[in-house]
């Protein structure tokens, strides 16, 4: 006998857990199936940036909605998730770069989006005193911040369970078929049936889509991060670059997390990644130039989480284009952590009511139809 639920969610990252919580808050009974444990991959080991800054226009509504949730995250999940808000600063490394940033910010302002704000050299120095003098300015999003990714994912998981969701870990989905008005989800631990299924399987989501005859051009990637031993506090906002790859933040315990998108080699069938030190050396050089004070900081760990990257760099959020009752929520392309809270809420709304007030146009899977 297959076990039944209102919704089966495949994947226990922050997106799956957030959707599970929001469905449960709507009084539905979701079962979430995770092949490892919640937050095992990208959701638990990402850089923890909570950023509205420098997002694709298609994502901005979800990002703004998420920010509202982040700002009351403790109320939502019963844990502050280590969230702190000191802004994100996108640093320009040259005048030309700054000119490009100005165009973007002006364009956003014309669209009525005011979260990005151009800053000059003096304001940059005030926000990030440790930065090298050659940087002429940048862009700040002052409400942005950072959180602890594993703790956040676990908090969503825990609250979802408290609200009535069932979370099953260590179980792999092996098949997905239509049975009457239900979907039958075959797993390594028996079958589940539900009228609705949410595919939040991250780097493995293409396999779920393929079971529906709906192939997607997903690339499996593993952005690398490294962390230093604890240093006395010297920088508050998260710093990112656009020309060169860098994200840089100091956590409250003093450690500095350095990332930015250089990729490790992922082996998704073995849950393994292999670090590329030559690329991390590029990050080290970038940090070296941007923050001379960091020269002798010691790097204690490097890692990479496995996730999905879409060809256009924006996620797949919405209904399946082939299969009634199936919804997709994956492909966040190395910047999905901040979007987790609201995307789960939007997905729950979509699943429960058939529509959502938050614009998600352009994020549908149909854009990849041949």
């Amino acid at each position: 006998m297959a076990r039944t639920a209102d919704v089966v969610i495949i994947g226990g990252g922050i997106h799956g857990c957030s959707t599970a919580l929001h469905l449960a808050l709507r009084g539905l009974k979701p079962i979430l199936i995770e092949k490892d444990y919640a937050g095992r991959h990208a959701s638990g080991v990402n850089a923890g940036g909570v950023r509205q800054l420098a997002r694709d226009l298609l994502e901005i509504p979800l990002s703004i909605a998420s920010m509202e949730l982040w700002e009351r995250i403790e109320e939502l999940v019963g844990d502050d998730c280590g969230f702190s808000s000191h802004g994100t600063v996108l640093i320009a490394e040259s005048d030309e770069e700054l000119a490009g940033f100005r165009e973007r910010v002006d364009d956003l302002h014309l669209r009525g989006l005011t979260h990005e704000e151009l800053i000059d050299r003096a304001e940059l120095k005030r926000l990030v005193p440790a930065v090298s003098d050659y940087c002429p300015g940048g862009v700040v999003s002052r409400r942005d911040g950072a959180a602890d990714p594993f703790r956040t994912t676990q908090a969503f998981r825990r609250r979802a369970v408290e609200e009535g969701a069932e979370i099953i870990e260590g179980v792999t989905v092996t098949g997905l078929t239509r049975v009457g008005s239900n979907w039958r989800v075959e797993t390594s631990d028996g079958a589940f049936e539900a009228p609705k299924v949410v595919n939040a399987a991250g780097a493995w989501a293409d396999r779920i889509a393929a079971m529906l005859g709906e192939p997607v051009p997903l690339t499996v990637v593993a952005p690398m991060l490294m962390v230093t031993s604890a240093l006395a506090p010297f920088i508050e906002p998260v710093v990112i670059l656009r020309g060169r790859k860098l994200s840089f933040k100091q956590r409250e315990n003093g450690t500095v997390v350095i990332g930015g998108g250089h990729l490790a080699t992922p082996y998704r069938d073995r849950n393994e990644t292999v670090i590329d030190w030559n690329k991390l050396a590029l990050s080290a050089r970038t940090v070296w130039e941007l923050f001379p004070a960091m020269h002798e900081a010691t790097i204690v760990r490097a890692w990479a989480g496995i996730e999905a990257y879409m060809p256009d760099g924006v996620p797949v959020v919405g209904r399946s284009s082939t299969s009634e009752g199936i919804f997709h929520q994956f492909g966040f392309s190395t910047h999905g952590f901040q979007l987790g809270p609201a995307t789960g809420a939007v997905m729950a709304e979509l699943v429960a009511t058939g529509s959502t007030n938050t614009p998600i146009d352009g994020l549908g899977i149909e854009r990849f139809r041949p």
């Binding site: 444990y37 937050g39 638990g44 490394e93 040259s94 770069e97 594993f150 703790r151 676990q154 230093t228 031993s229 020309g243 060169r244 315990n253 393994e272 292999v274 670090i275 030190w277 030559n278 690329k279 991390l280 050396a281 590029l282 080290a284 050089r285 940090v287 070296w288 960091m294 020269h295 002798e296 900081a297 010691t298 790097i299 204690v300 760990r301 490097a302 890692w303």
Partner: protein
């Protein structure tokens, strides 16, 4: 001195660790014509057992004993073998493609290897007792290193505590050198004899039997030995006294130095980070790599040999190193003439004889492996046993989740001094076996490197172009 810039971009064989296993392996492979480099992070070769074998200031050979001096031959053989031996070289990364990240004098290089032999040996088992982080508390192995390498002997009020052959060896060496030991607190549980006894006949045939008895006699004639089941270090900013008990009776000894030891366990960090599969060994109470008869690991082209393959001692380590090297040479240079493997295996078998007895007899008691209350489990991040136990009780199922919740294992030692403790505590609280709980997934760099070191990696022209803005 070999500098990072002197290294070739690739070697047929990279040996990591310059103890008996690494020295024997490098020397055999180089003699068979394989281009071989040996990296060792210490100032000189010898590993821990033959520490400072070429430079020790301890001139009186009787102090360290003939077993120590046997290392001199290994060192000189390796030096003459043609292998490039680089000391002060810290290997901080190894991946399944056999790319080796190494730093020498603050400069880093990535070296390609066709074959890698990990010979990083063992470390002392964590000994988490109250106060074990106080200055004045050290490992017995540490004191032995100071004796071998710098001729330093304990001179203040000194107490030794624990179990295992090394404790008695250090005591004897210290006494011969004129050092001071006020008391030895023997933590070996009596009931270990029940399991050890059946292996006594084998042990009686091993070379360690007579040596062991002689050591015990030598030490016990000069130092009071107390059987204890509880010990703690007390002091404000540094150790002032050692508190111990047997049964209910608590005693105190004023002390300047407390030396702890409860056996050694494989140093798994590098192999673990390279993706080598490990399993729990219940007799030795530690994780050991899964290996074939030639010490080949689950990652093709990476072997783990010596005590890193499971504890067997220094002489066995050299034989194990030779076996691993022969397999490497067969793969790399099939036409090479090689020594008789069968003879080496027989020698190894003789050396490993009696290991079961030693393992069962010196198995540390649960109370010394699974601390309670405010005793620190993780020294680096100062996480208490109670925190780990509580977190396990409320649902934390594994060491990797524990890392994320409590930061244990996230400090600079990267779990070397808390990994086994955390695994055992989770197992105890969740009524699981350590095998089921598993160990930390370790991340490179397995030794911290500075940002400047990492930035010093030579960057290829292609990569330089790729990042030009």
């Amino acid at each position: 001195m070999t500098a990072a810039s002197d290294l070739a971009p690739s070697y047929d064989l990279v040996v990591i660790g310059g103890g008996p296993a690494g020295l024997a392996a490098a020397s055999l492979a180089a003699r068979a014509g394989v281009s071989t480099v040996l990296f060792d992070e210490n100032p000189g070769v010898g590993g821990q057992i033959y520490r400072a074998i070429t430079t020790t200031p301890v001139a009186d050979r009787a102090v360290l004993g003939e077993d120590y001096w046997a290392g001199a031959e290994l060192a000189s053989e390796a030096k003459a073998s043609g292998a490039l031996i680089v000391n002060g070289a810290t290997v901080w990364s190894l991946d399944p493609q056999k790319i080796v990240g190494v730093s020498i004098a603050g400069k880093a290089r990535m070296i390609e290897a066709k074959h890698v032999i990990i010979a990083t040996g063992s470390q002392e088992r964590p000994f988490p007792i109250p106060g074990w982080t106080l200055p004045g508390v050290m490992t017995a192995g540490g004191a032995q290193t100071a004796l071998k390498a710098q001729g330093l002997v304990p001179s203040g009020r000194t107490v030794m505590a624990g179990t295992g052959p090394l404790l008695w060896l250090l005591a004897a060496q210290t006494l011969r050198a004129g050092g001071r030991i006020d008391a030895i607190l023997d933590t070996t549980p009596w009931r270990n004899w029940l399991q050890a006894l059946v292996h006594l006949p084998d042990f009686a045939l091993s070379p360690y039997f007579a040596k062991g008895l002689a050591l015990l006699r030598e030490v016990k004639a000069k130092v009071p030995v107390h059987r204890i089941d509880r010990v703690g270090a007390v002091g404000k900013e540094k150790l002032s006294e050692v508190v111990f008990a047997s049964g209910g009776r608590e005693r105190r000894l004023p002390a300047d130095l407390l030396l702890l030891h409860q056996g050694v366990v494989p140093n798994v960090n590098l192999a673990n980070a390279a993706g080598v599969e490990h399993v729990w060994n219940d007799r030795q109470l530690c994780f050991v790599p899964v290996l074939d008869a030639d010490f080949g690991s689950s990652v093709p082209g990476i072997a783990v040999t010596g005590d890193g393959a499971g504890i067997a001692g220094g002489t066995a380590a050299a034989e194990r190193g030779r076996i691993a090297a022969i397999a490497a040479v067969r793969a790399l240079r099939p036409e090479a003439t090689l020594p008789d493997t069968q003879a080496i295996r027989q020698k190894l078998q003789r050396e490993e004889m009696g290991r079961a007895f030693l393992d069962w007899l010196n198995r540390p008691a649960e109370s010394f492996r699974q601390p309670e209350g405010e005793t620190l489990a993780c020294r680096c991040e100062e996480v208490t046993a109670k925190q780990v136990r509580d977190m396990a009780r409320i649902g934390c199922e594994g060491p990797n989740q524990m890392k994320a919740f409590l930061r244990c294992g996230m400090g600079p030692c990267q779990g070397r001094l808390c990994g086994l403790t955390v695994t055992e505590l989770i197992a105890a609280e969740r009524k699981m076996t350590p095998a089921e709980v598993g160990y930390y997934r370790l991340r490179p760099p397995v030794k911290p490197i500075t940002l400047a070191e990492l930035a010093s990696l030579p960057i290829s022209e292609a990569e330089r172009k790729a990042v030009e803005r």
